[in-house]
Amino acid sequence: MSASWLSRTLIFAGLVACLGSHAQIAAAADSVAPLAKDTSSHPRGQLSPDLSAALDACRTYVVTQADEFVRRTRAFVDAVKTGRLAEAKSLYAYARQPYERIEPVAALFGDIVKRMDVRADEFELRERDPAFIGFHRLEMSLFAEGTTAGLAEIAERLASDSTELQQRILATPISPTRMVGGASALIESIAATKISGEEERYSRTDLWDFQGNIEGSKAIFVLLRPLLEQDQEFVARVDRNYRRVEDVLSRYRAAGDFAPYDRLTSRDRNALKGPITLLAEDLSTLRARLNLD
């Protein structure tokens, strides 16, 4: 039974292709010590086989997105380095999206994330701080200044950081609480910084990130959903709120691209706040419903 639901859900998430590398990943994971400053514990008891399989599938999802992130970032970086401004701009949000899907796992590697995804307002000197590098530094030049000049080094660093992130994800065990908690952590990220449109201030591509966070959250939820059969009301409510968010977002999407964030009406922003908050509240109970802690 568990094998059949697992394959169904994997098909749903579009992940079948990467199952092959999974044993290898697990082997690598066993050999690495947990992160030094993480208090999350691995459950003392045995996980049920179903939960174990679902968590493996979540891990596969994360690894697949990390691979995709490296691939798209490479294409974006190449466009920047060869001075193809229009192409670089069109690839910017697309490259970030797989990363936005797995942000809570990436956050385990704070040193890399602080280079790749730091925003100018984390620095007192704002845009002038030499430590302001990564995606948003490139975003500033491409969209606000309209140039690729002088970006080669920052772009290459971004590409190598994306690869390092992928390697470290492969080599690190992710605790079940962290993995399941990712579903709500992604929603928290929307509630804290995406809903305000402060993330992509030069490109106005915030809705891409928004969509990425929602997809990543939902992917984890969908993989765990078969284990929540006794909570039909809960599952239906969560599904409904994902759908409400997707409905609003879909109105701003055309031909594979999202409208700039400033097109989002204040009415629609509020229409997103409701289901986002409800998702955050509901998904914060997911770990307990799975008896993980």
């Binding site: 999350s40 509630a191 804290a192 910084t193 809903i195 802690d293």
Partner: protein, 419 residues
């Protein structure tokens, strides 16, 4: 209702807090008796006063009253003689405000001398005013560069910081603490009005503590915006020997002579992401902090003041090695030099661009050695799991000036006259 104009400044009594402070200097034993901690019947605290003159400034080892205000200033004065004038004015005003009294009458055709928000007679209300200097005061303007305290620099960025330049640093920092927000605001407006042209407000933040906890005089511990008791294991500010070791700069430290009797002050505005925190499982909250949320006891213990017992838990089975309290103070012989005197408040001010609450901890600490104290502690905390829920957004490093003995001296005089 009390008719405040009845009370003349000479009748203002020394507060219980001050009495306790003096007792604490000689008797090391725990807490004062319950009678000393209970406000006397009918007292509303408005006439209680803290000393303004002394070896050290008040407001550092003084028990914390319920309301605090921190205001950083840029000095507009351009010459040393103007800086001296500024400091003389500030000293005179703070001396008056902390003591209280009736301001001189003014011609009604002119604006009043003060804001009047405390009424016609100013009452002390336990006000302490503590003046500190920032690293920028030691730049080229006043010829003070060679007199800078050894460790005083601009506050650096730690890895989780998102420092907003409009809420950082300053030439001067004025800490005002009293029983009520109005008393602090009254003092601030008085200082601003009287220093026109010499100093400009750079940033300001206000903090609060629950009055019912404050009234227990340390018997109960305040909770922060995360809902956890914060400050349980703080240094006992009534223990003069501890303060001499950890808080006050003494002659043995190799600092410029003028600094003796002062203290390094750290102010940090630490926003807490409370909506997200409130959606975090209780067990995880407790694992991140290292304490039980209800009792405040270290995990696995019963009482909030119990020792966490790390030596019996070397692998962090009970209290994770990454728990906030364990990283902040590992209680090892080699970390004893890193102890600091914390004097934090809670704050709450408006909302973020996303519509989430902007509230958190107005973290303040004092230490004799900034690097051995706050900087070392903060470096140990860097990367802690709590960082997912907190964001330091402002603040600065300052040096709290030594106290002055009487009205014949002004705050900062030893600095300006040092050779």
């Amino acid at each position: 209702m009390t008719n405040r104009s009845r009370h003349l400044p000479g009748q203002i009594k020394l507060s219980r807090r001050h009495v306790l402070g003096v007792l604490g200097a000689t008797s090391f034993a725990g807490y004062a008796g319950a009678d000393d901690r209970t406000p006397s019947a009918g007292s509303d605290g408005t006439l209680e006063a803290q000393p303004f003159f002394g070896l050290h400034q008040s407001g550092i080892v003084t028990a914390q009253p319920a309301a605090a205000l921190y205001c950083a200033f840029d000095v507009l004065a351009e010459r040393p003689i103007e800086l001296e004038r500024l400091l003389r004015i500030v000293t005179e005003r703070l001396g008056f405000l902390t003591k209280g009294g009736e301001p001189p009458a003014t011609n009604p055709q002119l604006p009043p001398r003060g804001s009047g928000i405390l009424g016609p007679v100013v009452f002390p209300d336990n006000l302490t005013a503590t003046l500190s200097v920032g690293a920028s005061l030691f730049d080229y303007r006043f010829g003070l560069a060679t007199r800078r305290p050894l460790h005083l620099g601009a506050m650096e960025r730690f890895q989780n910081d998102a420092l907003d330049p409009s809420r950082c640093h300053g030439d001067l920092m004025l800490q005002l603490c009293s029983n009520t927000a109005e008393t602090n605001i009254h003092a601030l407006r008085d200082v601003i009005k009287n220093t026109a042209g010499l100093a400009a407000v750079r940033w300001k933040i206000e903090g609060f503590l629950p009055p019912h906890i404050v009234k227990t005089m340390g018997a109960d511990t305040v909770r922060n915006m995360l809902g956890f008791k914060d400050g349980t294991a703080n240094l006992d500010a009534r223990n003069a020997a501890l303060m001499d070791r950890y808080v006050w700069v003494g002659p043995e430290r190799g600092e410029p002579a003028w600094t003796v009797g002062g203290s390094y002050q750290v102010v940090r505005i630490i926003r807490t992401m409370v909506e997200r925190w409130d959606r975090t499982p209780l067990a995880e909250q407790e694992a991140i902090i290292g304490r039980h949320k209800g009792s405040g006891a270290p995990l696995g213990q019963t009482h909030d003041r119990e020792d966490p017992g790390y030596e019996a838990d070397p692998d962090g089975q009970r209290i994770s090695l990454a728990a906030h309290i364990r990283l902040a103070n590992p209680r090892l012989p080699e970390t004893r030099d890193n102890l600091i005197l914390r004097r934090s408040y809670n704050y709450s001010q408006g909302i973020s661009a996303s519509g989430q609450l902007d509230m958190g901890l107005l973290f303040v600490c004092y230490q004799a050695d900034l690097v051995a104290g706050f900087v070392t502690v903060q470096n140990r905390l860097s990367g802690e799991q709590l960082e997912e829920y907190i964001r330091p957004v402002g603040g600065g490093y300052f040096f709290a000036l030594p106290g002055i003995p009487d009205a014949g001296r002004y705050l900062g005089q030893s600095l300006l006259e040092a050779v």
